[in-house]
Each structure stands twice: as structure tokens, then as C-alpha cells.
Symmetry: C2
Subunit: 733 residues, 2 copies
């Protein structure tokens, strides 16, 4: 079984720009796979979509003999997403579930022990626990859990695909010898009964949920067990409030980042160092720059990917600004979706995450004075952890077709060995055919992506198609919710759709795109609004349309039955696509609304950067009329479904505008756990996820194929959709 | 004591258009009043402002020997506004408090008994109880209280100056013989865990609190005690959901109104009649008209006030449209702020409420075939109830200077006799001098109002002044919260301010104003936006400025130290005043934001009527730039305080725009009972009311007089105000 990972559908993953050749390349049948997985072969179901585990973290024991990992898994019986901690023997591959609880985060090995530590919610809020190899669990730090994270009243920070959490311990870090412990606790301050003035009122503009107040307290526990308070930080210090325990230990100090707010409101990232000997902190560094990823290389400088185009230069920049180049590579380093990396104790070797530029997958880069050596698994090595020597690592591995597994990495030989399945149920599904592909659109911008083929694709027949997009998340990961949200891509392919997962043109590909990206992010000079429109939105629409047109020209896709779906950033592109052309007949837009004028007041600087002013500025208004979807509803024809996690003003404005224009549309709001909380932007409530997928199937089947399924939970909507279809304006018939 | 009401400051209430003569007219000194009130004479304090009772209801026994009344009173010790039920012997004037509980509403006598009934919250939600004359209380109808009213999650209707209420019984009515009982119960339907679609999402746009769902059930209890369900009504039937039990009993039927919604969304008010004999309902009438007040006259037609100008024609319109005129009078009939009226069993006499047009006060009109006879107390007869014969009535009486009392009305002789004080504590305050006055502004529009003089006004000295406005609520009522909100008018006068309570020009005064009013209300043809601006806002500002200028010309007011305050409708005028001219140096704007473009999407038809389009319509945008306060912040100079009951988007937009323009401003948000509820538009939480008044005093004292009070709870703001003052833009110095 250990070699399975190397086989299977891997041949399909080879980069191919000639898609017409790719279509016949893979010949995986139900019977061949079924034999390999030792169970009945089967096709994708919606239940499979729902139960794809989210890969959260992995930690390897110092001796490299075992690893623990955390996944988030759906428990349909209780309608919750839970966290699961699994221990794997790296020799035998034997796996054992140690815990299945509401929340587990920041899993780490405890140095100089065989135990693990993690932030866990066992019912008393999120606290720091020690987990023995036999699964015994005991508290390390327990603090009253008063601060709330998630889409809930009084929240400090919004949630990412989780139910509301009460937090006692926010973050922690062990010194390399395991004798010192840095940790942060949170204390909520209730302002319920206070009169709020000025900024505390202003910050609540249009907020669905009241913001909470809290302080973060930073402690250092010494080897003798005594904890010293080293700082108490205000709510504005998001580096402390949202800390993951990213501190740097030296022999004499622990260095930790804090956010300082200037009187003018500017943010400054300050690195503080607490001296063990002196018992006080000093300021080490301060920067206004947005720091995305920091890792030192073997020369002591900062590692980075640099340059534009199809390769990246990997460089190391010393403190004095001197730059060492490791050469050009077809990958970038330090991608946030993977793992942070690590440095050997002698400083001679650094491990970083890699992301391939074409057919994007994640791997490991070993950086030494000799250069950069890439280690790729067969697909992506998504989350990894290494022994202190960096010689051995454990990774969670996956690909578009390979369900997640745990892999052992030998960083010396570069060998990657599959150890254990993370989700045996998904191993039993016969993989769909998935081919990577890239396209160059009418603006000359290149995009990458994947074609997911209908299960029983027959050459010569034309298929309906759906484009699914979300930024650059179309990569070699397995049915990734962050990319495909509640668009059940694999089930749609089972049902006969060609599904295209298409990335946006990367801003690292050319200077124009990069300039637009920086202007939007307020990191560079402004561009004219028409250029912003083109480089940030219209080129994306062009990519989708041109990609579909290519497949239509190849006889694969029926251009009259094409839909589009995307959430968040993807919802922008969906909404713009539907209001700029009539290319797509149906759309599903997930929890978005950016670009609507109603949101301008909430992020005025970004809107000014895009539109050249705020919407009530007569000079800027024409730019809104040229881009904001709700102001262009009258140009639209295709049926637009919006699925939202909260009743966003912007989404409702778009809904109303479409309705007024007679364009078929629906907005569906998925509820939170209770009246006091909402579903999260990336859904976490299993019943919502299932319903949203069912609704998307019903929506596309109806509007693209004219199909009705009386068994669909949304079948009661058909009559209304019929009415909307009949009432479409003349220009749309 | 019974004659006190007739004396005192009543001389000051005479209508006078020559204010220069009025200033010396009244000579009430502390000593003369003190003697009359048999207690130590004293001046107004903020505690007095807070404890002015709100007059809710009165009911007279059928024999005319006693009356019960309900007031809402502040209990500072527990920081709540409570309802108080008081029984008064109409012979002796002896008063007895029967109940003091969270809520009492719909107080009525039970026909053919000596007992009363009311909707009361005794801790089980609002239910229907019977109250004996000795104060004994027993349930009549108790229904599980699941529906919520007030500024709270899941509310059916917003609250008016009350804490969130749970409602079991919503409304009731006794048949005239007391044998039948009509009542409505509410049942909330939770939609917390449902997926909401389309309009149920759209209606939540920008809502601070989630709307609840409920059904209303209408019952009729027969003399044998058996209750029959006569209708179950949906949430959209606001006539049932918000019913006050306004049904009409005939011998064979009970007639009740329901609201039907057309498929197109139009509302239709339908009168249903339930036959006792047949045990079923039939439709009696249906209208799309907005029905404000309905009362039949002695000829069987509908009574109404008609016409424009300084008098009103009182008419009775028969069902066939024939119109009988009772002549022209200097008052209108059927004013909602007073009482509904009544009709004698033989139909020969109708009692209506009157409102005088100049020096607006409330009285009683007896309408017979012979004409209309007016009965005036000395001030206003605000709430009244009559015996079935209509011969005797009990009224709650008050004026600008006379604290509330209970008065007995002899409808035959027209005599009004003060029976008992409603608030002895306020009787001890030496009344301030208050003179009614009217002004005609630069547009030729006439407005009424009152001057409240500084306690120790000395002729020849110029005083700072504050204009307080809220629609047409400046009338002969006592320190009315609905008019003066948390602007402590009387205390400001004690502190040396001339306070002007100024009404708006009534839309009944001329055809232009009326046309604008109707266009705004979507009841008449549209007017050009510049006319709407002038007739609905600019003329109001002109009234205030011209009134102050008159007093300045008379040497009374210092025009360099003039402020303005108003909530709700008043906040519109405050915000417009401050952004159209530099007349007012300081302002306090209460819980408003209408006219801001951010609210346009929530009431698009009204905004279109005002501005000629929505704000993103390039043709309409200039009209927003000409009127919307936040778009005119750069024209403003005076210091603007906004006090709000919730973090309204529109108020925050105005705050931010002023801040950006460098105009001194502050926004203060007053909290609700908990994170799950808000303060109401008219405040009900005593600590908020006290703080808001203190803040207004601190604000005006600072910005108009340059005064600081180290003891003010807002003293910690002075340093910030100093900064804002110093940072004012050059154009404002």
C-alpha cells in the first residue's frame, strides 16, 4: 500500500499545454482502481464532497519515528465540523485517532519529550494541553475563555470555516530545548453597558456583528515553572491578538512581533526581544512594510522569490541589502497555503515550501550554500514538519486526484514515501480524469488551471461546462474547499459537466498586472481606473471566456451551456462576468459583494484606488457605472444565484438590481448556529454545505440543461424559476 | 388644591404674536408659587427632567366615580422605565397606586363591572389581566409569550421608548355589554435554522437586528366562555400584529381590520366582520388609502378636518360622498397624539380630540347635529376617556408649565375640574416663564412655537439661545420627551439659555407645503428636487434662523451664541442647517440620518421623490450634493454632536465626513440592555437619558459659552474638543 501514492492517476498530472492530446492520456477505469484500494470502487457523491478532510497541521516527533496530524472533519450526525488528531507510526503506517473535539490548533511536538502540545477546545474554551503518545491529555495553561473568534456577537476576529470559539490561550511557543514556554492569553473586556464615542462607533459601520474588545497578555514561563508577564497588549495589536506563536528563540532572548498604531493610524510592525537574564524587553526592529513571510537562508539573509514571468529568481538578501541569487526556478518559495519552513540549528540549511508555477503544486525546497534542491511528492506536500536536524519530515500529501495521505520525507535522499491514508473513504472513489492546462487570453495574459472531465467522457460529444474560480487556489490539492467552496466540482463532473478550475493571471507574470495589484493594495502608484478595471477584473473574465472558447473550438464544450461559479474574490469575477457580456448562461456567486458602491465607505482607500474616487464624486461615478455589478444589472441576462453567509448589503443591492432589471436571480442566506452567530465566509456547518451544493446542482441543471429533479430539496423553487425565465426582458431571449 | 390647575402660570399661555410685549407679561416668582404648592419651591434639575411621567392612558368607570390611569415612570434605582397604574376617586381626588410593573398597556374598564382590564407584563410576558378596584389582579387570557417587540434580535416591531417586550396577548376589546371578548395572540416562528431566500434576505439589508416571524391569531370569546378562533394572520398583516384592539361591535357582528398584501406588494386595508350567529367572517370593505383616523359623526358619515390655512373646516362625509360642513374653526380634529374619541350609543353625539392651530393645545370637541362645541382645559387635555353616555370624562391634563394632573370633564356643562396631581414632585418646581409665539420666515411660511425664558431673565442683556425642534410636537404638553428628547430644555433655561421650541411650517398651512409633503409620502405628484429641498428642509432652517434673528433684533438673544438641537425628523433639520449656513455655532443631532445617500437603497421611492433619482444616477447626484449633509461637510463649521441609539450607517457617514473636513464633531452611541438589544429611538434607559442630557449641556456650554464643568461626566472630552477647536479649517475661524 505504501507505494500507491506513486501510482494511480499521477500520469495525468504532467504539465501539458496541448489539451487536445491530454484528453485521451489517462485510462483509469473503475476496475483497475478498485483493486488497488481493496474495497468496492465507486463514484463521487455529495457526501464525499462534504467529508473531504481539511488538512490543518502535522508535527513529527524529534526521533522521526511518529507523527501527529490534525484534520477538520465533518460529523454529519451532529451537524458540526470537528477537529481530529491522529497519531501515525512512521514505520508501520499504523494510524490511531487520539482526539475528535470541537477544535485543535497549533499542534507541536514538545521538545525533549515524546509528547505533543496543542490548543484544544475540550468544552472549556481553547486552552493549551499536553498530549501523550498514548492519547492521555493534561492541561498546560488554562485561562478563563472570554474572548470570542468567529461570526458571533462580540467577536475579536472573524472565523475561518469554524464555529464560534471561546479563546483562553491564543498562541504559544516552546524554546528549542523545551524548557521555556512563551504564551499569549486573551481577556475580553465587555463594553455592552458603556457609551461608545467616535471611532468606537465609527468602526461599527454596517457591521453585522458587534466587535468585541480584549487585551492580549504575553507570558514567559521559565524552567522553574514561574510565569512572568512580559507585555499586555491592546486590541489594536493584531499581531498579538491573532498570533500563531511565531516567535524566534535565541540563547538569551525570545523575539516576538507586536503591532503599534501611530497617532495618524498607520501600522508599524515592531519586533521586541525579551531578555531572560535582564527580565525586560527591548525594541529590536520596526517596519511599516507588510511582512508576508520571513525565513533566513544559509547566509543569514532573508529568503525571497523575485522577478516576473514563468520562472522565479530565488534570492537571499542580507541586512545590508546585498543580494545573493540562487538562480531561476519554475517555482516560488514561501507560499502561505503550505508550511512556514525551518532552519537547521547550525544555520547551514533552510527548508522552505515551494509552489510550482505551472500545474501549481507544493513541494519542499532545501536551501544550502550549494543552492536550492527541490523535493516533490506526487502531487502536493501541503503541510510539513521536520525533525530538528531537518533530515526527516512528515507531510500531508494530496493532489487533484489523490486523496490526502501522510508521507515521510527523507530530506537527504529526497525520497518521498506514502505512509498512511488520511481518508480511506475517499481512496475508494475512482479518480476522475483531471488535466492541468494553461491558456493565454485576448490580453496576452496567461492563466493556469485544470480540466475535470465528465466521468464517461466521449470524444465528439459536446458537454455543458462550468468554470469555477477563486484567485490562484486551483492547484494540486484534493477537492479543496478553499478553491471550490460549495460548488461540488467532482459531482458535477460525475453528472456530465466539463468543469474548468481556472486561476487568475498571476500578478507575478507581468509588470502591468503587478502594478495594478500593488495600486489596489495601496502599495504602489495609482493607475487610471480603466486600466485597473482591465487588469484586475476584465482580464479574468477574458481568461474564462477564452478558455471555454478554446474547448468549444476543440469540440469538447457546448458554448450555449456554460456556467460560472466562484466565491469571495471569485464572486467579484462572477458578478463582473455576468454584467459585462452574455457569455455565461448561469452563475453561482458565493458570499461576495466587493465592487458594489455600498461597500465603498467601508474601504474608501481601496475603492478610490480602483474607481478614482468615491461613488458620490461626479468624476468617479462613471467608473462605477462601468464596473459595479449592481449598476450594470440592466446589461445582464444570465441567471445569477448568490449564496451568502450573512445578509450583506452589497449582495442584496445586486439581487435587487437584477430583480428590477428582470434578470433571473436568487439570493440564499445560510444560517449560523443561532440568532447570535452566522455561517462563516467559508462554510463550516455541514447542513449548510450540503444544501448549498444541492442548490448549485439544481441551479445549473435547471438554467443550463433545463433539467428538473423532483427529489432535489430545491424542487419547490422550479415554479418560481419558470416565472423568472418567462419574464426575462426581450433583449435576453 | 383642586383649583390650582386654573391658576399659576396660565396667564403666560395666552397666544401672543408680539413677543416683545410678552417678555414682561408674567411675573411668577419663586415665593408666590411656593405657597401654592405647599412645599419648598425649587428650580428644575436633571432628575426632574428624567422623572417627568409619560402619559399613557386613562379609563373612567362607567358610573363616573373613579378613573384609572397609566403613566410610564423612571425608576433610577433599577435603571428602568416602568409602567404605573393609579386609581383616582373622582370625588375626593384621593389617588392610589395599584401597580408598578415593567409594562401596562390598553387600560380599559370592563363593561358592567367595577373592574379594569389591561395588558400587563408581570414577568410572564404581556398578558391580559383583570384588575379589581382594590388592586387585586387575576389573569383573563395568558398565552405563551414568544413574540418580541423592541430593539432586540428577532423583533416583530421596533420599540417606542420601551425595553424589549415579550408579547403573549397583543390586543383585545370588550363588547359594549362586556359579555364578548375579542383578542389577538401572537406566536413567534423561529427561522434561525432555515435557509432564507430572496425577499426574506432582502428585507434584512443593513438591519441592525434580525427580524422575527410570527403569526397573529384572532379569537372571540363568547358569553359562555368558549373561545373561537376567527382568523390566523401572517406577519405581513401589520394591522393584526400591531393591533390596539380597534374593532367595532354591532349587535350581530364584530368588525376588525386586517392588512392584505397584493401579489404586486401593494397593501390593502380590509374590514372583516365576524357574525356571532353564523360563526364565520365576511369581507365588509377594502381600501388602498392610508387610514389615519376614523370616527363617525352624528349623521353617520366620517368626520374630518379639511382645508388649508389658519382655520380648519370640520366636515362629515357620508358614504355616498355627500359632505356636511360644521363650519370653520381655529383647530383640527382627530389628532393621534391625544385620544381617539367616542360615540354615544344613540349615535347622536361624537366626542373627538381637538388641537388648536396657534399655541397648539389639545381639547375636546363635542359634535352633534347642532355643530361642534369645544371644551378646553387650561392647557391640554392630552388623554381622555368618557362614560358610555359621554356625559362625563376623565382626562390627563398638562401644559408647557403645568405638570400633569387628572381632570374631570363635564361634557354637558363644559366644565373642566382638576382632581389630582399626577406628579407631585413636579408641582414643586417653580414654573419657568414660557410664551407661545409664531413667526413668518423669509419664504412667507408661518411657524408656531414657544420661548422658554432663562429663569432670571433680565431685559437688556443678551442671552445665548438654543433652538429645539421636532416636527410639530412643540405644544402645550409638559417637558414632552417626544418633542425635546434628551435636550434638557428646562434645565438649559435654568442655566441661562433662551430656548426656542419651534415647530415646522405645517403642510396644512399652504398648498405648496402640502404638495411637497404628499410627494414625499408618495401620495401625490412629484415636484422638482429643488422645490422639495426648499419646501421640506430649507424653509425649516429659514424658520429657525429668522426666529432667532427676530429675537436678536429685539435685543434678547446674542446671535453669536446660538445652537440647535433635534432628533429624528429634527435631526434632518439640524444636519441640513449645519451644512447650509454658518448660523448655528453648535448642534446636537439625535438618532437620525435620513437624507444621507447611504440610506437611499432602504427607501428608494422616498429618496427618488426627494432627489429625482437614486444617488448613483448621474442626473440625480447633483441634488444629493445640494442637500445630503455628509456630502456638504466641507461647507460646515459649527460643532456637531450626534447622539445615536444604534451605530447607524448614515450617522457614521456624516461623522466621518465632518471629521475629514476638520469640522468639530462627536458621535456618541448609547447602549441597550445587553449585546442583544439596543436603546430605542426615543430613549428608555434612565442612565442613557441622564448621560445624554449631561452630554448636551457639556457640549453646548463648551461650544457656545466656552464653559467647562470639571464635574461633568463628559469633562474628559474637553481636551479632545480643544484639539478639534484648534484644528478647525481656516475658513471657519
Amino acid at each position: 500500500m505504501t507505494d500507491c501514492f506513486m501510482l494511480g492517476s499521477s500520469a495525468a498530472l504532467a504539465i501539458s499545454l496541448a489539451a487536445s492530446a491530454v484528453a485521451d492520456q489517462v485510462d483509469v477505469t473503475l476496475s483497475t482502481i478498485a483493486g488497488k484500494n481493496e474495497g468496492p470502487a465507486r463514484r463521487w457523491t455529495l457526501a464525499d464532497q462534504l467529508t473531504v478532510p481539511r488538512l490543518a497541521a502535522v508535527a513529527i516527533a524529534a526521533d522521526g519515528h511518529s507523527a501527529a496530524y490534525v484534520t477538520r472533519v465533518v460529523d454529519s450526525a451532529i451537524n458540526k465540523t470537528l477537529s481530529r488528531l491522529t497519531l501515525v507510526d512512521l514505520q508501520s503506517g499504523a494510524s490511531r485517532e487520539l482526539l475528535r473535539v470541537p477544535w485543535i490548533d497549533q499542534l507541536r511536538r514538545i521538545p525533549n519529550s515524546l509528547a505533543w502540545s496543542a490548543l484544544i477546545d475540550l468544552g472549556e474554551g481553547v486552552q493549551l494541553y499536553r498530549i501523550e503518545a498514548d492519547g492521555q491529555i493534561s492541561p498546560i495553561i488554562v485561562h478563563p475563555a472570554t474572548a470570542r473568534f468567529g461570526e458571533v456577537e462580540g467577536r475579536l476576529l472573524p472565523g475561518y470555516a469554524h464555529a464560534p470559539l471561546s479563546i483562553g490561550v491564543r498562541a504559544y511557543s516552546w524554546s528549542p530545548d523545551g524548557r521555556w514556554l512563551f504564551y499569549i492569553t486573551l481577556d475580553a473586556a465587555s463594553d455592552e453597558r458603556q457609551i461608545l464615542i467616535d471611532e468606537k462607533v465609527s468602526e461599527q459601520r454596517g457591521l453585522r456583528r458587534r466587535l468585541g474588545q480584549a487585551t492580549a497578555t504575553l507570558y514567559l514561563r521559565a524552567p522553574n515553572g514561574k510565569a512572568t508577564l512580559i507585555a499586555r497588549r491592546p486590541r489594536s495589536d493584531v499581531l498579538s491578538i491573532a498570533s500563531k506563536g511565531d516567535v524566534v528563540w535565541t540563547k538569551d532572548e525570545v523575539r516576538y512581533p507586536v503591532m503599534e498604531i501611530d497617532p495618524g493610524g498607520g501600522e508599524r510592525r515592531v519586533t521586541m526581544a525579551w531578555s531572560f537574564g535582564k527580565g525586560r524587553a527591548r525594541k529590536v526592529a520596526s517596519t511599516r512594510d507588510y511582512v508576508y513571510w520571513q525565513m533566513k537562508g544559509p547566509r543569514g539573509g532573508q529568503l525571497a522569490s523575485d522577478g516576473l514571468g514563468d520562472t522565479r529568481e530565488i534570492v537571499e538578501v542580507a541586512e545590508d541589502g546585498r543580494r545573493h541569487s540562487y538562480g531561476r526556478f519554475p517555482f516560488s518559495i514561501g507560499h502561505g497555503a503550505a508550511f512556514g519552513g525551518g532552519r537547521s540549528p547550525d544555520g547551514h540549511r533552510t527548508i522552505v515550501s515551494l509552489r510550482a508555477l505551472d500545474d501549481p503544486r507544493f513541494g519542499i525546497g532545501l536551501v544550502t550554500n550549494n543552492g536550492v534542491r527541490a523535493i516533490w511528492g506526487d502531487g502536493s506536500l501541503t503541510k510539513c514538519d521536520f525533525t530538528p536536524s531537518l533530515n526527516r519530515g512528515a507531510c500531508l500529501a494530496e493532489s487533484q486526484t489523490a486523496p490526502p495521505s501522510l508521507a515521510l520525507i527523507d530530506a537527504v535522499s529526497g525520497r518521498v514515501r506514502r505512509i498512511a491514508s488520511v481518508s480511506p473513504a475517499h481512496d475508494k472513489i475512482v479518480p476522475l480524469k483531471v488535466t492541468p492546462r494553461s491558456w493565454t487570453n485576448r490580453y496576452g495574459h496567461k492563466v493556469t488551471g485544470y480540466i475535470i472531465w465528465p466521468r464517461d467522457y466521449a470524444k465528439g460529444r459536446r458537454y455543458p461546462a462550468i468554470v469555477v474560480n477563486h484567485g490562484n487556489d486551483a492547484d494540486q490539492r484534493f477537492a479543496l474547499q478553499d478553491n471550490q467552496w460549495e460548488y461540488p466540482v467532482q459531482t458535477l463532473a460525475e453528472r456530465g459537466y466539463v468543469v474548468l478550475l481556472i486561476n487568475e493571471a498571476s500578478s507575478r507574470l507581468n509588470a502591468d498586472l503587478r502594478a495594478a495589484d500593488q495600486a489596489w493594495g495601496l502599495q504602489g502608484p495609482t493607475l487610471p481606473p480603466e486600466r485597473m478595471r482591465e487588469l484586475l477584473w476584465l482580464t479574468g473574465i477574458a481568461s474564462f471566456e477564452d478558455a471555454v472558447s478554446e474547448l468549444a473550438a476543440e469540440g469538447i464544450v457546448d458554448p450555449a451551456r456554460v456556467g460560472i461559479a466562484g466565491y469571495s474574490r471569485g464572486s467579484q469575477l462572477v458578478n463582473v462576468a455576468m454584467t459585462q457580456s452574455h457569455f455565461f448562461r448561469a452563475a453561482s456567486s458565493g458570499d461576495g459583494g466587493f465592487l458594489e458602491p455600498a461597500m465603498a465607505a467601508d474601504m474608501p482607500d481601496h475603492y478610490k484606488a480602483i474607481f478614482g474616487g468615491l461613488p458620490y464624486d461626479p468624476k468617479a461615478l462613471p467608473n462605477y457605472l462601468a464596473l459595479s455589478p449592481s449598476l450594470r444589472a440592466g446589461k445582464s441576462c444570465g441567471a445569477i444565484l448568490q449564496q451568502v453567509a450573512a445578509p450583506h448589503v452589497a449582495s442584496i443591492d445586486f439581487y435587487r438590481a437584477l430583480r428590477r432589471a428582470g434578470v433571473p436571480t436568487q439570493i440564499s442566506l445560510f444560517p449560523g448556529e443561532s440568532a447570535a452567530s452566522d455561517e462563516t465566509h467559508v462554510f463550516h456547518i455541514p447542513s449548510n454545505r450540503m444544501a448549498a451544493m444541492q442548490e448549485n446542482i439544481a441551479w445549473f441543471d435547471y438554467w443550463l440543461l433545463g433539467k428538473r429533479d423532483p427529489a432535489s430539496p430545491f424542487a419547490d423553487r422550479y415554479a418560481h424559476w419558470d416565472e423568472m425565465r418567462a419574464a426575462r426582458p426581450a433583449r435576453c431571449r
